[in-house]
């Protein structure tokens, strides 16, 4: 951590570094639920699910939708690696519903295809949750 009272949060997508901010605390949408990070968190590597990343700073709470990926907590900061970072407003309920529909219709008869389907389902459900 960069200091004792703040967390340095960096969000990188394959295209670029989307966010580089200091905050008091943050909440990560892990694969199995929300995880809060306070200054001085022990080093960690974890999987992220589909949900809202919330940054709590002096000015208030800001949130973004993250689409899977990983988080690495080091002593310098919290690195979030995700495929996409979206503002919650950017998520369209209708298209999320369509995605869910598509994901449900996927054929899953092998372990590989099942994991692809599960991923698609989780993604669509995550989006739907945010948009409603």
């Amino acid at each position: 951590m960069s200091s004792d009272t703040s967390v340095h949060c960096i969000v990188v997508t394959p295209e670029r570094t989307e966010l580089d901010a200091q905050c008091e605390s943050l909440k990560l949408p892990m694969y199995d639920g929300e995880l809060g990070i306070l200054p001085g968190r022990a080093p960690m590597v974890g999987r992220i699910g589909f949900g809202l990343l919330k940054l709590q700073s002096a000015t208030g709470e800001q949130s973004w939708f993250v689409e899977g990926g990983f988080v690495q907590v080091t002593r310098d900061g919290v690195y979030v690696l995700t495929n996409r970072l979206l503002k919650p407003e950017q998520i369209d309920r209708k298209s999320a519903e369509e995605e869910l529909q598509k994901a449900t219709e996927m054929v899953a008869n092998t372990p590989q295809t099942r994991s692809v389907k599960e991923r698609a389902l989780a993604q669509a459900r995550g989006k739907l949750r945010i948009s409603s």
Binding site: E15, R16, P43, V45, G46, Q72, L81, N83
Partner: protein, 304 residues
Amino acid sequence: MANIRQLDKRRKSVRNIRKITRTMELIATARFKKAMDRAAAATDYTKRITQIVQDLANSGASVSHPLLVAHDTVKAVDILVLTANRGLCGGYNGSLVRVAAQRRSEIQEQADAGQTSVSGKRGISAFRYAGIPIEKTYTEFDDQPSFDAVAKIADELIYRFVSGQVDRVDVAYTRFISSSKQVPVVETLLPFAGLDVSSPATVSSSTETQSTGQENKVRDDYEFLPNASAILQEVVPASFRARLFKCFLDAAVSEQIARMVAMKSATENAGDIIKGLSRTYNRARQSKITQEIMEIIGGVEALG
């Protein structure tokens, strides 16, 4: 003399061409800068991924994933060729198609199946002309390839590889080495070899290098959620996607450079031609004037 008018006409058209090529050069320069920035911005992600993989390896987790395992028998090989949608970029498309076609004929000697996918109109038409069948074509990638589109291709390749439909995936693209050197290469993407865990010193993130002094003493013991192997299951495909994306970015940057260089020399060449034409034009005009004077003098003398 009609020759003079012809010369002037030609000079005018060369001038117009020079204007066009110069503009294209400027456009290519601007696009190159943009593409370059994008490529630079994308390295952060790859760096972090490598870091995570290294931490996983350091923590004692065995690095194994279906994508990393080479298949015993290589029966089907896919090849993906990344060319440009547009021409006028020197030998960029030509040399890449040559390299790719050569690799493809090599593949056909050892493997009897596999898909050939081509991105870019130029490559598509070159392969069609050579009579090489193409299974898939992509034309949506220009100077700024989007990750989403690349990820789709990557996911499909992953699926084909894991499900055993294909035993090796090659990609032919122009690798960007420096702004003065780009080489067309064919690389094997799958089985994936991009996770280099054997040499931790070569890749270390900027944050880690700052604290190298204490790094040796205080090793970070990472907590893995849910566990190291589950994370690895996700990291490897993500790393592969990033790798393929890098190929597209490299190809985009190289294309712009190739076009820049080609257009620069075209502009210079046009300048040389104009110079030559002007010289011949002036000479022709002068000789015409001289001839006319001679005729007038001759006429005057005949009168007198």
